[in-house]
Amino acid sequence: MTSLSTVRQQVLAGIDSHLVRRLAGPLLILLAAYGIVPLVADQYVIESLLLPFLSLSLAAVGLNLLTGSAGQLSLGTAAFMAVGAYGAYNVVLRLPWVPMLLAFVLGGIAAAAIGIVFGLPSLRLRGFYLAVSTLAAQFFVQWVFTKFSWFSNDNTSGVITAPQLRAFGLVFSEPTARYLFCLTVVMLLGLAAERLLATTTGKHFIAIRDNELAARIIGVPVLKTKITAFALSSFIIGVAGALWAFAYIRTVEPHGFNLDRSFQILFIIIIGGLGSIRGSFLGAAFIVVLPLVLSRLGSAIFGGIFDSGVVEMCQRMIIGVLIILFLILEPDGLAAVGRRLGPTLRRLLWRQ
């Protein structure tokens, strides 16, 4: 009897410590993100680092579902962000009785719809032919928002100024409040994406990426899965675009969602790790912080000899070099680096 209860105790203790170990990391991050960051971060850090970081992370999560997990290369991410942003803006503008959160969802759905339209060619096209189709989305959407001022409430150059963030009867206008709002949305959608990858649909994504023909043969509904990937990915990217417009820069022009933005998000998932949700966040942090570090470093070493143009060119070169280095040396990106460092860190922490 005693032996049985000891066993039971041991098992329970085992589960307990396992759970604690597994959840400790995420809980610590949540605690830091909600508890500590708002206390220590000043306005500058929030407005020019954390808010772009969160929106770009979410966009990267969306792209990672499509490109990293389902293996469909997209060069039109910024277009779907634009649809999300302009969609949410128009819902708020034209249907004032719709709660803003719902407007974000509708913006995301609009992006998903456009995503499906430009994803339809994926039923017949593969690889680079498909990538060209997403480029079509990029140019077409940008043209629409520049040319048709209806979308920007008759602003002739297509610029929109987002109204204040509101949800649940609260106004999120302070930087800290906008940060918390963004954080919550990004956390929820990030978690949903992570869960999605564990479902059958998620497994189907990966099967199609790894070998489409083989996937078809073992019974994966290829067409349905591809369209689902385009829809879900574009939805998340659309919401990211809405966050970008409403919480981060607030005055948006169509040009802000150009091809360079699409490439930037592609770079985030390469550096962070293709197919890794966690990697999307690491990559976004890297891409947001890198220019700052480089310009600080540059002015510390060289003083003010170089003008901003030269600094920008250097940054582009460094990003290009980093992309190639990551692809050659660390194809699974920062997420893989994290995985390798994780156990070491944990051992150090738990040994005490």
Binding site: F139, F140, I319
Partner: protein, 298 residues
């Protein structure tokens, strides 16, 4: 009145066809590399920019045309070999998407590097070809366009001859067909790939000169890759003939649409129209006009 419209239509059409040949020229650089190494080289546009900037700067330093051309060509060759050694070789046997992404990174490096070295000002480039329109029957055509199309056409013909009739061309085709078999019969893949990149550099140089003379040598020159993509899609990524026909179709429809359809939407449709043409076409023929139909094995 009617005759005027028909005449105008033909002027637009011919102008479109001629600029289509110049699109083909850019697309050709892609096809060459894609055919032999399976890499869709996004950096082709930045190579065009780099070549044009280098050439124009050398000319402005007072070098004669031939010398400037030769020096630029040598630089392009060095660039090609470097890319093959440092980027393509370590990524051997990786997925096409990874290779494409690497060339995307490469395009950032070359583009920014070219502008760091040579500056960001717009340079005018005069090739000594006059741009006065000449009259062919009732239709007037830009002389520059004709010359550019002739030069492009000659280069394309030379390349086709090279591929079909020379020993090196044969090895290129062998590598394109089956790299492993080529390796097995003793072809040196890396040397061939380096040669391919050098040839792509030559094409980039010619394209850079022609487009540079037309638009001015500046950053936006690297954006002509975006004009080449629909041509590639239409013609098939691996067909030289396809790029020519694709270029002509895209050039003509784009110009016609710009002039006759564009005003209905307030203009500016040339950024995406070619893509839509290519896409609609693709839905009917997924491998382009002349693309190879690939049978996949599991």
């Amino acid at each position: 009145m009617m005759a005027d419209q028909i005449q105008f239509f033909f002027e637009v059409l011919i102008g479109g066809l001629l600029s289509g040949v110049m699109y083909s020229l850019v697309a050709l650089g892609f096809v060459l590399i894609y055919k032999t190494s399976g890499v869709l080289n996004f950096a082709q546009g930045s190579m065009v920019l780099f070549a044009a900037l280098t050439f124009v700067q050398l000319r402005e330093k007072g070098l004669p045309f031939a010398v400037a051309f030769l020096i630029t060509l040598i630089l392009m060759a060095v660039l090609g070999i470097t890319v093959e050694r440092t980027v393509m070789r370590p990524l051997l046997n990786r997925s096409p998407i990874v290779l494409f992404l690497a060339t995307l990174g490469l395009s950032y490096i070359i583009e920014a590097g070219a502008q760091l070295i040579w500056g960001t000002q717009v340079h005018a480039l005069d090739l000594g070809i006059s741009d006065t329109p000449i009259q062919v029957g009732p239709v007037s055509i830009s002389q520059f366009d004709i010359s550019a199309a002739l030069i492009s056409g000659t280069l394309v013909a030379a390349l086709v001859f090279f591929f079909q009739r020379t020993r090196t061309g044969l090895t290129f085709r062998a590598v394109a067909d089956d790299p492993f078999a080529a390796l097995a019969v003793g072809l040196r893949l890396s040397r061939i790939w380096a040669l391919v990149w050098i040839t792509a550099g030559l094409i980039a140089l010619v394209a850079g000169l022609l487009w540079g003379a037309r638009l001015g040598v500046q950053f936006s020159l690297s954006l002509i890759v975006l004009k080449a993509f629909p041509v590639l899609v239409l013609g098939g990524f691996d067909s030289i003939l396809g790029t020519i026909v694709g270029g002509l179709i895209i050039g003509a429809t784009e110009k016609l649409a710009e002039v006759f359809v564009g005003p209905l939407f307030g203009g500016g449709i040339e950024t995406w129209f070619a893509y839509v043409v290519a896409l609609v076409f693709l839905l009917i023929r997924p491998t382009g006009l002349f693309g190879q139909k690939v049978v996949e094995r599991v």
